[in-house]
Structures are given as C-alpha cells and as structure tokens.
Symmetry: C2
C-alpha cells in the first residue's frame, strides 16, 4: 500500500511526523505537505500562480516534499503526477484540534482528503485535541487501525473518512454524522500606531452540542468519531418546497 | 430588506456592480467584499492575522468596503457587527464562471454564502458563464427575482441557494441537485531562469456530465439552476457498511 501523507499545519508539524511514524509499518509512505501553516486555508485550487515543491526532511531524517500552496494543492500536484508511483490512500493530519460539525468546511485537513476523493483516491482526515504529546501517538495508532480496515474492506468510493480521536482515555469508536458547533466569534477592533482601525475575528473557542450519533457527541464522550463525508451538499429535503415557489416564466 | 453583497473577484469586479444595480430597488444594500481577487480561496476563517476594512466606492459612485481577507472573512466581519444594521440576506457574486458540482467546495462565491448561513443569515450565490457584458445584467435580473421570492416565501433555514444563470437565451428555471464535473487538470512543469522546477495546475477547463435534474444538466440546456445547499456532508448511505467493519476494542 502506497500512502500519501499531508496536512495543513506544515510539513514540519509534530502531528504529521507522528502520523508518518504510526503508518510506516503499513506500506510505502510519501509526504507532500504545505511548507508553512495553512490552517483554515479552506479548499483551494491555486491556478493563478505557480507552485514550488522543495525537497526537505522530517525530524526523523525521512524525506518529504514542502509545497508552497494549500493542502489541497499539495494533494493535487502529488496525484497529477509529481508522485510517480500510484497512490492508494491519502491521509491528512494529525491536526492538533478537532475538525467537527461545520468546522469541516473551513478545515485544510479535511479539504486535503476531499481533494484526494475528487481525484479518485480514498481520503482520510485525522484530528485530535492535543493536550499532551502522547495524544498524537494515540491518534496515529487509531489512524493505523482505520487504514488496516480500509486495506481489508476496501474504501467506500467517493467518501472521505473524517477521524477525530479524543485525547486521554478512549472508550470506543462510533460511526457518526456531522453535528452542530456553536461558534462564539466576536469582532475585535484594534488601532494601529497611526490610529487606523483593524479587526480580528476573535471571541471564544466554539463549543459543541453533545448530541448522540454525532461527531461532536462522540468526542465529548471519549469516543473515536469516524464520519463518512461526501462532496454533495444538496439539501434534498427542501427541493419540493422550492419547486412550489413557482418558477415558470410568468411568476 | 437589508442585503449584504460580497463576491470573490474583488470589490471592483463588474459582476458585483451588476448585482448591486440589479438589487438596489429591493431594499438597502451594503457592499463588503475582498479588496482583491480571491477566486478559489475556499472557505476560510482568518484567525492568525488582523483584517483591514477600507472605505471605497464602486464605479457608479456608491459606497463599499474593501476587506483584506477572503470572501468568508468579509461576511464574518460584516455580520459580527462591522455592519451595524441587521442584515436580512447575504448575496455573493456575480461570478463570471459557473459554480457547479464539485466546484462548490472550491468556490469563494459559494463559501461566502455558506458563511452567512453559519451565522444564521440566508445566503445566495450567483454565477454565470460570462460571454458578453449583458450576461451579468441578465444574471442580476434572475437574482432579483430569487430575492423577491425569498422575501415573499421566507428563506429555508440553514440553506444556501446556489444560483447558476446561463448566458444568452434562457429557457426556464429548475430546482436542481449537485451534479458531476470532470476535471481535466494536468501537472505542468516549468523551469525558472536558474533551472529550478516549478509547477502549474494546468490542463483544460472542466467539463460536466449533462445529467437531468442536476446543476450541470440545467445550465447546459439553457436553464437557470437553483440548488439548495446545506453544510452537512455526511454520507449517511455508507454508515451501515462502516459499522459492519467492526469497531469494538478487540477488532
């Protein structure tokens, strides 16, 4: 099995190293990840400027490529042919913060895995809420277990598995759906030395609604959350109501 | 009705001006949009650096704010309190290229509208495939029609309406689901003056599968496409199979 590892915190982030070390017994590993932190980069395809891929190495001396673009760019370049050998799986992480509920649409970790699925390669995103360095190693072990299951069972086509591993004691694992986050963002105004305003998106960390069956509910109860994601955002349940609004040319 | 207009092509893009002119008879308009082109910026929340909002004006002399961040940042800042009056609707566009199928996850136009929905405000994204300047005016008229319907019927909660208006003659409108795009990206290697490689994500424009009932199918047949989108990417249909993989601690 040939596994491509990427992330959004940058190629030298400790979460990526932990993931690589947790997976290296399972097959061949290639690392192509952003040169710098791209957290909250969103899903991006850089078409307006060229991208660099520079050879580097991880803290354990193993080879890696540092990409000047977003996580999804790193995956796109790798799968479009920069990586010569066929890639069987793309895995992104380990993010030091959970990617739950609506976070998913902002998450570079998740969008790297979505990019893989668009290119026809199974994708996995791995996140934890890092409290001590051992949390990365624990999340990497869980990731390895999921990768072994994918190797045994085959990945569901067109699906990203979004894996969130709680820190500390783990009580089990659940297949979950996306839950709800409550964002507590606030506009924070500051003044520069010349009196001109600038703004931060500040406030408190988002909280979650610990609903049973959801990703948020699972991790708040010490359970590994495994959410299958697809790329279809269509809200089918509202389509009949919208059709009832009347769209003939005379309406 | 108080409408916030944004886009991803930058505050001075002609599509935004056309949209503003098409909607101004419907209520109060506030424009907060990226200072520069942010196409394919993806859904982003800029937390690691401060953002600027500079007063500017559109080509018709009307006031606007130019934001240093991504489209979703512009919406977040506006709705977090930079815009003092309550906003009833956020509308993003007019993008000069369609946002169809998997494009949605890359699209700054769509993610601006998703950000509005996360903040509890109805969101609409408007795109066309611009061939002549009149295409923007036509798409703006369609957007105005959709906004009037929202005012009459109420927006479905938590839903973005993703509107794609074909250029030229329009044969009707359809409520659609997300279809399939076929990307034809290619890795293009170039050399800098010092012989070092760099890369473009090149290739041909994506094509679409003209499946009936989909966004791609609609616009290829000269129909306005209106797709309701939500933020839940959960692939519910694969959850039972994943549960069958076995996740008890001994597996």
């Amino acid at each position: 099995m040939h596994i491509l590892i990427t992330n959004d915190d940058g190629v030298h982030a400790p979460g990526l190293l932990a993931l690589k070390q947790g997976l290296e017994a399972l097959g061949q590993i290639t690392v192509v990840a952003p040169a710098r932190n791209q957290s909250a980069a969103g899903h991006r395809k850089t078409l307006h400027k060229p991208l660099r891929l520079e050879a580097t190495c991880l803290a354990d001396g193993s080879p890696a490529w540092a990409c000047s673009g977003a996580p999804s760019d790193a995956v796109a370049l790798a799968l479009l042919g920069f990586v010569k050998e066929k890639v069987d799986l793309v895995i992104s992480g380990i993010n030091p913060h959970f990617n739950l509920a609506q976070d998913i649409t902002y998450s570079g970790t998740v969008t790297a895995a979505l990019e893989a699925v668009i290119a026809g390669v199974p994708g996995v995103a791995v996140s934890t809420e890092m409290r001590s360095p051992g949390d990365f190693a624990q999340a990497a072990q869980v990731a390895a277990r999921v990768v072994r299951k994918i190797a045994e069972q085959g990945a569901p086509p067109g699906i990203v598995l979004n894996l969130n591993v709680p820190p500390g004691e783990i009580k089990g694992a659940r297949i979950t759906r996306q839950g709800q986050r409550v964002y507590r963002d606030a506009l924070v105004e500051r003044r520069d030395p010349w009196g001109r305003p600038y703004y931060w998106i500040g406030g408190e960390m988002p909280t979650g609604v610990a609903e049973a069956g959801t990703d948020v509910g699972a991790v708040l109860n010490g359970l590994i959350s495994i959410t299958p994601l697809n790329l279809d955002l269509t809200a089918r349940e509202v389509m009949p109501a919208l059709e009832g609004w009347g769209w003939s040319s005379t309406d």
